[in-house]
Symmetry: C2
Subunit: 253 residues, 2 copies
DNA sequence: CGTTGACTTGACGGAAGTCAAAAGGTGTGG
DNA sequence: CCACACCTTTTGACTTCCGTCAAGTCAACG
Protein backbone atom coordinates (compact mmCIF):
# COMPACT_ATOMS: atom_id res chain seq x y z
CA UNK A 1 0.00 0.00 0.00
CA UNK A 2 1.11 3.54 -0.65
CA UNK A 3 2.44 5.73 2.11
CA UNK A 4 -0.74 7.31 3.51
CA UNK A 5 0.98 10.54 4.51
CA UNK A 6 2.27 11.15 1.01
CA UNK A 7 -1.12 10.12 -0.37
CA UNK A 8 -2.78 12.75 1.76
CA UNK A 9 -0.29 15.53 1.17
CA UNK A 10 -0.32 14.99 -2.57
CA UNK A 11 -3.87 16.17 -2.50
CA UNK A 12 -2.47 19.54 -1.56
CA UNK A 13 0.62 19.80 -3.68
CA UNK A 14 2.97 17.98 -6.00
CA UNK A 15 6.25 16.71 -4.55
CA UNK A 16 9.53 16.35 -6.33
CA UNK A 17 10.76 12.74 -6.58
CA UNK A 18 13.41 13.68 -4.05
CA UNK A 19 10.97 15.09 -1.54
CA UNK A 20 8.71 12.11 -1.98
CA UNK A 21 11.55 9.74 -1.24
CA UNK A 22 12.36 11.63 1.91
CA UNK A 23 8.75 11.57 3.03
CA UNK A 24 8.54 7.86 2.36
CA UNK A 25 11.66 7.27 4.40
CA UNK A 26 9.94 8.70 7.47
CA UNK A 27 7.72 5.65 7.56
CA UNK A 28 10.65 3.29 7.23
CA UNK A 29 11.85 3.80 10.76
CA UNK A 30 10.61 2.49 14.07
CA UNK A 31 7.03 1.30 14.30
CA UNK A 32 4.78 0.61 17.24
CA UNK A 33 1.41 -1.11 17.48
CA UNK A 34 -1.17 -0.15 20.07
CA UNK A 35 -4.07 -2.43 21.01
CA UNK A 36 -7.64 -1.18 20.76
CA UNK A 37 -8.67 1.16 23.56
CA UNK A 38 -5.12 1.73 24.73
CA UNK A 39 -3.50 5.09 25.14
CA UNK A 40 -1.08 6.08 22.41
CA UNK A 41 -0.09 9.33 24.07
CA UNK A 42 -1.23 10.33 27.54
CA UNK A 43 -2.48 13.76 28.51
CA UNK A 44 0.43 15.67 30.01
CA UNK A 45 3.07 13.48 28.40
CA UNK A 46 6.25 15.03 27.03
CA UNK A 47 6.60 13.55 23.60
CA UNK A 48 9.96 13.18 21.91
CA UNK A 49 8.88 11.32 18.81
CA UNK A 50 6.17 12.27 16.41
CA UNK A 51 3.53 9.58 15.92
CA UNK A 52 2.04 9.03 12.49
CA UNK A 53 -0.93 6.72 12.11
CA UNK A 54 -0.15 4.02 9.54
CA UNK A 55 -3.13 1.76 10.03
CA UNK A 56 -6.10 1.55 12.35
CA UNK A 57 -8.15 4.34 13.89
CA UNK A 58 -7.28 6.68 16.75
CA UNK A 59 -8.92 9.63 18.47
CA UNK A 60 -7.68 12.93 19.79
CA UNK A 61 -9.61 13.18 23.01
CA UNK A 62 -9.83 14.77 26.40
CA UNK A 63 -11.05 13.19 29.60
CA UNK A 64 -12.93 15.58 31.81
CA UNK A 65 -12.88 15.69 35.60
CA UNK A 66 -16.50 14.49 35.75
CA UNK A 67 -15.56 11.30 33.93
CA UNK A 68 -16.87 12.53 30.60
CA UNK A 69 -14.87 12.44 27.45
CA UNK A 70 -14.77 14.58 24.36
CA UNK A 71 -13.33 13.29 21.11
CA UNK A 72 -12.04 16.26 19.18
CA UNK A 73 -10.94 14.47 16.04
CA UNK A 74 -10.55 11.05 14.58
CA UNK A 75 -7.13 10.15 13.24
CA UNK A 76 -7.00 7.95 10.17
CA UNK A 77 -3.91 6.59 8.40
CA UNK A 78 -1.73 9.47 7.24
CA UNK A 79 -2.63 11.70 10.17
CA UNK A 80 -0.06 13.01 12.62
CA UNK A 81 -0.85 12.71 16.32
CA UNK A 82 1.38 15.18 18.00
CA UNK A 83 2.92 17.83 15.83
CA UNK A 84 2.10 20.24 18.63
CA UNK A 85 5.17 19.14 20.58
CA UNK A 86 6.94 21.88 18.69
CA UNK A 87 5.12 24.37 20.83
CA UNK A 88 3.74 22.56 23.80
CA UNK A 89 5.68 21.76 26.90
CA UNK A 90 3.50 18.67 27.15
CA UNK A 91 0.38 17.28 25.53
CA UNK A 92 -2.81 19.04 26.57
CA UNK A 93 -4.97 16.07 25.62
CA UNK A 94 -4.53 12.40 24.92
CA UNK A 95 -4.46 10.20 21.86
CA UNK A 96 -6.22 6.87 22.20
CA UNK A 97 -6.46 3.92 19.86
CA UNK A 98 -10.04 3.14 18.86
CA UNK A 99 -9.15 -0.05 17.05
CA UNK A 100 -5.69 -1.61 16.95
CA UNK A 101 -3.46 1.10 15.58
CA UNK A 102 0.00 1.02 14.13
CA UNK A 103 2.14 4.15 14.29
CA UNK A 104 5.37 5.14 12.62
CA UNK A 105 7.66 7.05 14.96
CA UNK A 106 9.56 10.02 13.61
CA UNK A 107 12.56 10.59 15.86
CA UNK A 108 13.20 13.77 17.81
CA UNK A 109 16.48 14.37 16.04
CA UNK A 110 14.83 14.78 12.64
CA UNK A 111 12.56 17.33 14.18
CA UNK A 112 15.14 19.32 16.05
CA UNK A 113 17.12 19.69 12.87
CA UNK A 114 14.09 21.25 11.26
CA UNK A 115 13.63 23.71 14.07
CA UNK A 116 17.16 25.01 13.87
CA UNK A 117 16.99 25.54 10.13
CA UNK A 118 13.73 27.46 10.40
CA UNK A 119 13.67 31.23 10.39
CA UNK A 120 12.10 33.12 13.27
CA UNK A 121 9.22 34.14 11.07
CA UNK A 122 8.46 30.60 10.00
CA UNK A 123 8.49 29.50 13.60
CA UNK A 124 6.22 32.37 14.53
CA UNK A 125 3.72 31.54 11.83
CA UNK A 126 3.72 27.90 12.68
CA UNK A 127 3.34 28.48 16.39
CA UNK A 128 0.54 30.81 15.74
CA UNK A 129 -1.22 28.05 13.80
CA UNK A 130 -0.66 25.55 16.55
CA UNK A 131 -1.75 27.71 19.43
CA UNK A 132 -4.85 28.69 17.48
CA UNK A 133 -5.56 24.99 17.08
CA UNK A 134 -5.23 24.50 20.83
CA UNK A 135 -7.84 27.18 21.41
CA UNK A 136 -10.10 25.56 18.84
CA UNK A 137 -9.82 22.23 20.60
CA UNK A 138 -10.81 23.81 23.88
CA UNK A 139 -13.80 25.41 22.21
CA UNK A 140 -14.94 22.01 20.99
CA UNK A 141 -14.90 20.73 24.55
CA UNK A 142 -16.88 23.80 25.54
CA UNK A 143 -19.54 23.14 23.00
CA UNK A 144 -19.67 19.42 23.43
CA UNK A 145 -19.53 18.93 27.14
CA UNK A 146 -20.14 22.15 29.02
CA UNK A 147 -23.39 23.87 29.86
CA UNK A 148 -24.23 27.38 28.76
CA UNK A 149 -22.95 29.11 31.90
CA UNK A 150 -19.68 27.20 31.94
CA UNK A 151 -19.22 27.94 28.28
CA UNK A 152 -19.63 31.68 28.67
CA UNK A 153 -17.48 31.71 31.78
CA UNK A 154 -14.81 29.80 29.90
CA UNK A 155 -14.86 32.25 27.03
CA UNK A 156 -14.54 35.19 29.41
CA UNK A 157 -11.70 33.63 31.32
CA UNK A 158 -9.87 32.79 28.13
CA UNK A 159 -10.21 36.36 26.94
CA UNK A 160 -8.96 37.61 30.29
CA UNK A 161 -5.79 35.59 29.86
CA UNK A 162 -5.30 36.48 26.22
CA UNK A 163 -5.68 40.18 26.92
CA UNK A 164 -3.40 39.88 29.92
CA UNK A 165 -0.73 38.35 27.72
CA UNK A 166 -0.77 41.37 25.46
CA UNK A 167 -0.90 43.63 28.49
CA UNK A 168 -4.29 45.22 27.96
CA UNK A 169 -5.91 44.42 31.28
CA UNK A 170 -6.19 46.88 34.16
CA UNK A 171 -7.89 45.95 37.42
CA UNK A 172 -9.36 42.82 35.85
CA UNK A 173 -11.03 45.04 33.29
CA UNK A 174 -10.56 45.15 29.57
CA UNK A 175 -12.27 46.45 26.48
CA UNK A 176 -14.39 43.71 24.97
CA UNK A 177 -16.80 45.41 22.59
CA UNK A 178 -19.08 42.51 21.69
CA UNK A 179 -22.85 42.48 21.63
CA UNK A 180 -24.87 39.74 23.26
CA UNK A 181 -25.74 38.53 19.81
CA UNK A 182 -22.07 38.09 19.00
CA UNK A 183 -21.56 36.20 22.23
CA UNK A 184 -24.41 33.96 21.15
CA UNK A 185 -22.71 33.39 17.80
CA UNK A 186 -19.49 32.51 19.55
CA UNK A 187 -20.95 30.10 22.08
CA UNK A 188 -23.56 28.50 19.86
CA UNK A 189 -26.39 29.76 22.05
CA UNK A 190 -29.21 32.22 21.38
CA UNK A 191 -29.06 35.92 22.25
CA UNK A 192 -31.99 35.52 24.61
CA UNK A 193 -30.29 32.77 26.53
CA UNK A 194 -27.03 34.69 26.68
CA UNK A 195 -28.91 37.57 28.19
CA UNK A 196 -30.34 35.43 30.97
CA UNK A 197 -27.01 33.85 31.76
CA UNK A 198 -25.28 37.21 31.85
CA UNK A 199 -27.82 38.35 34.40
CA UNK A 200 -27.10 35.29 36.51
CA UNK A 201 -23.38 35.86 36.30
CA UNK A 202 -23.79 39.49 37.25
CA UNK A 203 -25.94 38.68 40.26
CA UNK A 204 -23.45 35.97 41.21
CA UNK A 205 -20.84 38.71 41.33
CA UNK A 206 -18.68 37.00 38.73
CA UNK A 207 -18.46 39.64 36.04
CA UNK A 208 -19.70 42.95 34.78
CA UNK A 209 -20.17 43.58 31.08
CA UNK A 210 -21.11 47.13 30.40
CA UNK A 211 -20.20 49.87 28.00
CA UNK A 212 -18.25 47.37 25.91
CA UNK A 213 -16.01 46.66 28.87
CA UNK A 214 -15.68 43.34 30.62
CA UNK A 215 -14.78 43.40 34.30
CA UNK A 216 -14.00 40.12 35.95
CA UNK A 217 -15.19 40.77 39.47
CA UNK A 218 -14.08 37.43 40.86
CA UNK A 219 -11.44 35.76 38.68
CA UNK A 220 -10.96 32.74 40.92
CA UNK A 221 -14.60 31.87 41.04
CA UNK A 222 -15.00 32.57 37.33
CA UNK A 223 -12.23 30.11 36.68
CA UNK A 224 -13.98 27.55 38.85
CA UNK A 225 -17.33 28.05 37.19
CA UNK A 226 -15.66 27.70 33.80
CA UNK A 227 -13.90 24.50 34.92
CA UNK A 228 -10.93 26.12 33.38
CA UNK A 229 -8.39 23.48 34.14
CA UNK A 230 -5.92 22.96 31.41
CA UNK A 231 -3.00 25.11 30.66
CA UNK A 232 -4.03 24.91 27.04
CA UNK A 233 -2.78 28.32 26.11
CA UNK A 234 0.71 27.11 26.87
CA UNK A 235 2.33 30.12 28.34
CA UNK A 236 4.46 27.99 30.62
CA UNK A 237 7.73 29.33 29.38
CA UNK A 238 6.58 32.79 30.16
CA UNK A 239 5.87 31.69 33.69
CA UNK A 240 9.33 30.22 33.97
CA UNK A 241 11.05 33.27 32.64
CA UNK A 242 9.07 35.40 35.07
CA UNK A 243 9.09 38.39 32.83
CA UNK A 244 6.81 41.33 33.19
CA UNK A 245 3.83 40.00 31.26
CA UNK A 246 4.55 36.41 32.01
CA UNK A 247 4.20 36.78 35.73
CA UNK A 248 0.77 38.26 35.39
CA UNK A 249 -0.44 35.73 32.86
CA UNK A 250 1.02 32.89 34.85
CA UNK A 251 -0.88 33.95 37.95
CA UNK A 252 -4.13 33.33 36.15
CA UNK A 253 -3.27 29.79 35.29
CA UNK B 1 3.32 50.00 22.70
CA UNK B 2 5.23 46.82 22.11
CA UNK B 3 4.69 44.72 19.03
CA UNK B 4 1.81 42.44 20.05
CA UNK B 5 2.99 39.54 17.91
CA UNK B 6 6.40 39.47 19.51
CA UNK B 7 4.79 39.92 22.90
CA UNK B 8 2.68 36.85 22.32
CA UNK B 9 5.38 34.67 20.81
CA UNK B 10 7.82 35.50 23.55
CA UNK B 11 5.52 33.63 25.85
CA UNK B 12 6.54 30.53 23.96
CA UNK B 13 10.22 31.07 23.36
CA UNK B 14 13.07 33.51 23.56
CA UNK B 15 14.11 35.27 20.37
CA UNK B 16 17.55 36.43 19.44
CA UNK B 17 17.83 40.20 19.04
CA UNK B 18 18.19 39.63 15.33
CA UNK B 19 15.03 37.55 15.07
CA UNK B 20 13.16 40.04 17.16
CA UNK B 21 14.17 42.86 14.88
CA UNK B 22 12.94 40.93 11.89
CA UNK B 23 9.64 40.17 13.58
CA UNK B 24 9.23 43.79 14.49
CA UNK B 25 9.86 44.82 10.92
CA UNK B 26 6.85 42.85 9.79
CA UNK B 27 4.63 45.37 11.48
CA UNK B 28 6.43 48.30 9.89
CA UNK B 29 4.93 47.73 6.47
CA UNK B 30 1.52 48.51 5.05
CA UNK B 31 -1.38 48.94 7.43
CA UNK B 32 -5.10 48.94 6.89
CA UNK B 33 -7.97 49.93 9.14
CA UNK B 34 -11.35 48.26 8.96
CA UNK B 35 -14.49 49.85 10.43
CA UNK B 36 -16.57 47.93 12.98
CA UNK B 37 -18.75 45.21 11.47
CA UNK B 38 -16.93 45.24 8.15
CA UNK B 39 -15.40 42.25 6.50
CA UNK B 40 -11.63 42.00 6.73
CA UNK B 41 -11.42 38.88 4.61
CA UNK B 42 -14.39 37.38 2.80
CA UNK B 43 -15.24 33.71 2.71
CA UNK B 44 -13.85 32.29 -0.51
CA UNK B 45 -11.33 35.08 -0.99
CA UNK B 46 -7.88 34.33 -2.30
CA UNK B 47 -5.56 36.13 0.03
CA UNK B 48 -2.12 37.32 -1.01
CA UNK B 49 -1.15 39.15 2.11
CA UNK B 50 -1.22 37.89 5.65
CA UNK B 51 -3.25 40.04 8.00
CA UNK B 52 -2.06 40.58 11.55
CA UNK B 53 -4.34 42.28 14.04
CA UNK B 54 -2.59 45.27 15.57
CA UNK B 55 -5.47 46.87 17.43
CA UNK B 56 -9.17 46.26 17.82
CA UNK B 57 -11.09 43.02 17.88
CA UNK B 58 -11.98 40.68 15.04
CA UNK B 59 -13.70 37.33 14.70
CA UNK B 60 -13.06 34.25 12.64
CA UNK B 61 -16.57 33.33 11.60
CA UNK B 62 -18.72 31.46 9.18
CA UNK B 63 -22.09 32.48 7.83
CA UNK B 64 -24.45 29.57 7.35
CA UNK B 65 -26.99 29.17 4.55
CA UNK B 66 -29.86 29.61 7.01
CA UNK B 67 -28.59 33.05 7.93
CA UNK B 68 -27.01 31.88 11.15
CA UNK B 69 -23.46 32.64 12.08
CA UNK B 70 -20.84 30.83 14.08
CA UNK B 71 -17.86 32.64 15.52
CA UNK B 72 -15.03 30.16 15.83
CA UNK B 73 -12.48 32.39 17.46
CA UNK B 74 -11.90 35.95 18.53
CA UNK B 75 -8.77 37.61 17.21
CA UNK B 76 -7.01 40.05 19.50
CA UNK B 77 -3.91 42.13 18.76
CA UNK B 78 -1.01 39.85 17.89
CA UNK B 79 -3.20 37.24 16.23
CA UNK B 80 -2.81 36.27 12.59
CA UNK B 81 -5.96 36.08 10.50
CA UNK B 82 -5.06 33.96 7.56
CA UNK B 83 -1.95 31.88 7.88
CA UNK B 84 -3.95 29.13 6.23
CA UNK B 85 -3.36 30.67 2.80
CA UNK B 86 -0.27 28.52 2.75
CA UNK B 87 -2.50 25.52 2.24
CA UNK B 88 -5.85 26.78 1.17
CA UNK B 89 -6.79 27.70 -2.33
CA UNK B 90 -9.13 30.22 -0.76
CA UNK B 91 -10.50 31.10 2.65
CA UNK B 92 -13.09 28.65 3.94
CA UNK B 93 -14.53 31.20 6.34
CA UNK B 94 -14.48 34.94 6.81
CA UNK B 95 -12.79 37.36 9.15
CA UNK B 96 -14.92 40.24 10.36
CA UNK B 97 -14.09 43.27 12.43
CA UNK B 98 -16.07 43.42 15.67
CA UNK B 99 -14.85 46.86 16.62
CA UNK B 100 -12.68 49.06 14.44
CA UNK B 101 -9.62 46.97 13.70
CA UNK B 102 -6.22 47.85 12.38
CA UNK B 103 -4.21 45.20 10.57
CA UNK B 104 -0.59 45.01 9.48
CA UNK B 105 -0.21 43.40 6.08
CA UNK B 106 2.64 41.00 5.52
CA UNK B 107 3.31 40.88 1.78
CA UNK B 108 3.06 37.78 -0.36
CA UNK B 109 6.70 38.00 -1.33
CA UNK B 110 7.92 37.46 2.22
CA UNK B 111 5.75 34.43 2.42
CA UNK B 112 6.71 32.87 -0.87
CA UNK B 113 10.34 33.12 0.07
CA UNK B 114 9.60 31.12 3.17
CA UNK B 115 7.83 28.40 1.23
CA UNK B 116 10.73 27.85 -1.14
CA UNK B 117 13.28 27.61 1.63
CA UNK B 118 11.21 25.05 3.53
CA UNK B 119 11.92 21.36 3.27
CA UNK B 120 9.24 18.95 2.14
CA UNK B 121 8.97 17.57 5.63
CA UNK B 122 8.47 20.96 7.21
CA UNK B 123 5.76 21.73 4.69
CA UNK B 124 4.16 18.40 5.36
CA UNK B 125 4.09 18.94 9.09
CA UNK B 126 2.76 22.42 8.79
CA UNK B 127 0.08 21.49 6.31
CA UNK B 128 -0.97 18.71 8.54
CA UNK B 129 -1.41 21.22 11.36
CA UNK B 130 -3.41 23.54 9.18
CA UNK B 131 -5.73 20.98 7.69
CA UNK B 132 -6.36 19.60 11.15
CA UNK B 133 -7.31 23.09 12.22
CA UNK B 134 -9.75 23.34 9.31
CA UNK B 135 -11.45 20.15 10.47
CA UNK B 136 -11.58 21.50 14.01
CA UNK B 137 -13.27 24.66 12.81
CA UNK B 138 -15.89 22.65 11.00
CA UNK B 139 -16.51 20.63 14.12
CA UNK B 140 -17.15 23.82 16.06
CA UNK B 141 -19.83 24.79 13.57
CA UNK B 142 -21.29 21.30 13.97
CA UNK B 143 -21.53 21.64 17.69
CA UNK B 144 -22.67 25.19 17.75
CA UNK B 145 -25.19 25.41 14.99
CA UNK B 146 -26.25 22.00 13.80
CA UNK B 147 -28.79 19.62 15.31
CA UNK B 148 -27.94 16.10 16.36
CA UNK B 149 -28.85 14.45 13.06
CA UNK B 150 -26.97 16.96 10.96
CA UNK B 151 -23.99 16.60 13.23
CA UNK B 152 -23.79 12.86 12.91
CA UNK B 153 -24.42 13.03 9.17
CA UNK B 154 -21.65 15.59 8.88
CA UNK B 155 -19.22 13.40 10.76
CA UNK B 156 -20.04 10.42 8.57
CA UNK B 157 -19.69 12.38 5.38
CA UNK B 158 -16.38 13.81 6.50
CA UNK B 159 -15.07 10.34 7.28
CA UNK B 160 -16.27 9.12 3.88
CA UNK B 161 -14.14 11.78 2.22
CA UNK B 162 -11.14 11.27 4.43
CA UNK B 163 -11.14 7.52 3.86
CA UNK B 164 -11.65 8.04 0.16
CA UNK B 165 -8.60 10.24 0.05
CA UNK B 166 -6.46 7.46 1.46
CA UNK B 167 -8.19 5.00 -0.86
CA UNK B 168 -9.88 2.82 1.72
CA UNK B 169 -13.46 3.01 0.52
CA UNK B 170 -15.14 0.36 -1.61
CA UNK B 171 -18.76 0.67 -2.72
CA UNK B 172 -19.32 3.55 -0.30
CA UNK B 173 -18.28 1.23 2.51
CA UNK B 174 -15.36 1.50 4.86
CA UNK B 175 -14.18 0.12 8.15
CA UNK B 176 -15.18 2.49 10.93
CA UNK B 177 -14.89 0.52 14.16
CA UNK B 178 -16.44 2.96 16.62
CA UNK B 179 -19.03 2.23 19.26
CA UNK B 180 -22.11 4.36 19.70
CA UNK B 181 -20.60 5.63 22.90
CA UNK B 182 -17.56 6.88 20.99
CA UNK B 183 -19.81 8.57 18.48
CA UNK B 184 -21.51 10.25 21.41
CA UNK B 185 -18.14 11.42 22.72
CA UNK B 186 -17.26 12.79 19.32
CA UNK B 187 -20.51 14.64 18.71
CA UNK B 188 -21.14 15.86 22.23
CA UNK B 189 -24.37 13.88 22.47
CA UNK B 190 -25.40 10.96 24.67
CA UNK B 191 -25.14 7.31 23.62
CA UNK B 192 -28.90 6.95 23.95
CA UNK B 193 -29.56 9.82 21.62
CA UNK B 194 -26.99 8.59 19.12
CA UNK B 195 -28.78 5.29 19.08
CA UNK B 196 -32.11 6.88 18.23
CA UNK B 197 -30.65 9.02 15.51
CA UNK B 198 -28.82 6.09 13.97
CA UNK B 199 -32.12 4.26 13.78
CA UNK B 200 -33.67 7.22 12.02
CA UNK B 201 -30.82 7.44 9.57
CA UNK B 202 -31.05 3.75 8.85
CA UNK B 203 -34.77 3.86 8.22
CA UNK B 204 -34.23 6.95 6.06
CA UNK B 205 -31.95 4.80 3.95
CA UNK B 206 -28.99 7.12 4.52
CA UNK B 207 -26.46 4.79 6.09
CA UNK B 208 -25.80 1.39 7.55
CA UNK B 209 -23.47 0.98 10.51
CA UNK B 210 -22.94 -2.64 11.36
CA UNK B 211 -20.10 -4.94 12.20
CA UNK B 212 -17.80 -1.95 12.58
CA UNK B 213 -18.40 -1.02 8.97
CA UNK B 214 -20.04 2.15 7.77
CA UNK B 215 -21.92 2.00 4.49
CA UNK B 216 -23.18 5.24 3.06
CA UNK B 217 -26.30 4.09 1.26
CA UNK B 218 -27.14 7.46 -0.21
CA UNK B 219 -24.13 9.80 -0.29
CA UNK B 220 -25.93 12.67 -1.98
CA UNK B 221 -28.73 12.77 0.50
CA UNK B 222 -26.34 12.28 3.41
CA UNK B 223 -24.43 15.30 2.19
CA UNK B 224 -27.67 17.27 2.04
CA UNK B 225 -28.78 16.24 5.50
CA UNK B 226 -25.34 17.16 6.83
CA UNK B 227 -25.51 20.56 5.10
CA UNK B 228 -22.06 19.71 4.04
CA UNK B 229 -21.33 22.71 1.96
CA UNK B 230 -17.84 23.93 2.29
CA UNK B 231 -14.84 22.48 0.65
CA UNK B 232 -13.10 22.71 3.97
CA UNK B 233 -10.92 19.70 3.49
CA UNK B 234 -9.25 21.52 0.64
CA UNK B 235 -8.54 18.77 -1.79
CA UNK B 236 -9.05 21.12 -4.72
CA UNK B 237 -5.66 20.51 -6.21
CA UNK B 238 -6.37 16.85 -6.23
CA UNK B 239 -9.51 17.55 -8.18
CA UNK B 240 -7.59 19.66 -10.64
CA UNK B 241 -4.89 17.11 -11.16
CA UNK B 242 -7.55 14.47 -11.71
CA UNK B 243 -5.39 11.72 -10.37
CA UNK B 244 -6.68 8.36 -9.30
CA UNK B 245 -7.63 9.21 -5.76
CA UNK B 246 -8.33 12.80 -6.49
CA UNK B 247 -11.07 12.14 -8.94
CA UNK B 248 -12.94 10.04 -6.44
CA UNK B 249 -12.50 12.47 -3.58
CA UNK B 250 -13.41 15.40 -5.79
CA UNK B 251 -16.66 13.76 -6.80
CA UNK B 252 -17.79 13.82 -3.21
CA UNK B 253 -17.28 17.54 -2.85
C1' DC C 1 -24.16 -21.42 29.27
C1' DG C 2 -23.11 -17.66 31.89
C1' DT C 3 -20.69 -13.26 31.59
C1' DT C 4 -19.59 -9.20 29.43
C1' DG C 5 -19.97 -5.27 26.52
C1' DA C 6 -22.77 -3.07 23.06
C1' DC C 7 -27.14 -1.83 21.63
C1' DT C 8 -32.21 -0.84 22.29
C1' DT C 9 -36.44 0.89 24.42
C1' DG C 10 -39.56 3.66 27.35
C1' DA C 11 -40.93 7.23 30.64
C1' DC C 12 -39.80 11.45 32.37
C1' DG C 13 -37.30 15.93 33.23
C1' DG C 14 -34.81 20.00 32.14
C1' DA C 15 -31.85 23.17 29.59
C1' DA C 16 -32.08 25.92 25.91
C1' DG C 17 -34.78 27.56 21.77
C1' DT C 18 -38.65 30.25 19.77
C1' DC C 19 -41.73 33.93 19.34
C1' DA C 20 -43.16 38.29 20.42
C1' DA C 21 -43.26 42.53 22.55
C1' DA C 22 -41.47 46.11 25.57
C1' DA C 23 -37.87 48.87 27.44
C1' DG C 24 -33.55 51.05 27.27
C1' DG C 25 -29.49 53.30 24.69
C1' DT C 26 -27.28 55.91 21.16
C1' DG C 27 -26.59 58.71 17.33
C1' DT C 28 -28.42 61.75 13.69
C1' DG C 29 -30.78 65.47 11.83
C1' DG C 30 -34.14 68.98 12.32
C1' DC D 1 -32.12 70.15 22.57
C1' DC D 2 -35.56 67.39 21.17
C1' DA D 3 -37.44 63.74 18.16
C1' DC D 4 -36.98 60.07 15.68
C1' DA D 5 -35.07 55.81 14.12
C1' DC D 6 -32.46 52.01 15.06
C1' DC D 7 -30.10 48.79 17.60
C1' DT D 8 -29.35 46.29 21.76
C1' DT D 9 -31.04 44.43 25.87
C1' DT D 10 -34.69 42.64 28.67
C1' DT D 11 -38.90 39.99 29.87
C1' DG D 12 -42.55 36.49 29.61
C1' DA D 13 -45.05 32.39 27.83
C1' DC D 14 -44.63 28.35 25.50
C1' DT D 15 -42.15 24.48 22.92
C1' DT D 16 -38.72 21.10 21.79
C1' DC D 17 -34.70 18.69 21.59
C1' DC D 18 -31.89 16.16 24.05
C1' DG D 19 -30.43 14.23 28.65
C1' DT D 20 -31.28 11.05 32.48
C1' DC D 21 -32.43 6.91 34.57
C1' DA D 22 -33.40 2.37 34.38
C1' DA D 23 -34.56 -1.88 32.50
C1' DG D 24 -34.16 -5.10 28.90
C1' DT D 25 -32.25 -7.44 24.61
C1' DC D 26 -28.73 -9.13 21.78
C1' DA D 27 -24.29 -11.03 20.25
C1' DA D 28 -19.70 -12.60 21.08
C1' DC D 29 -16.67 -15.24 23.63
C1' DG D 30 -14.48 -18.14 27.04
Amino acid sequence: MQNPLTAKLEHYTAFSPDERTRLDQLLMGKRQTFPARSEIIADGEKVTEIHLVVSGLAARSKYLPDGGRQIMAFLVPGDLCDVEVFVLEAMDHSITAISETECALIPAKTIETLLTEMSGLTKGLWWSTMSDAAVLRERIIDHGRRGAKERLAHLFYEMLIRYTVIDQVTDNSFSFPVTQEELADATGLTPVHINRILQEMRSDGLIELRHRTLTVTDPDRLKQVARFESDYLHFKRAAERQDRHGKKAADLM
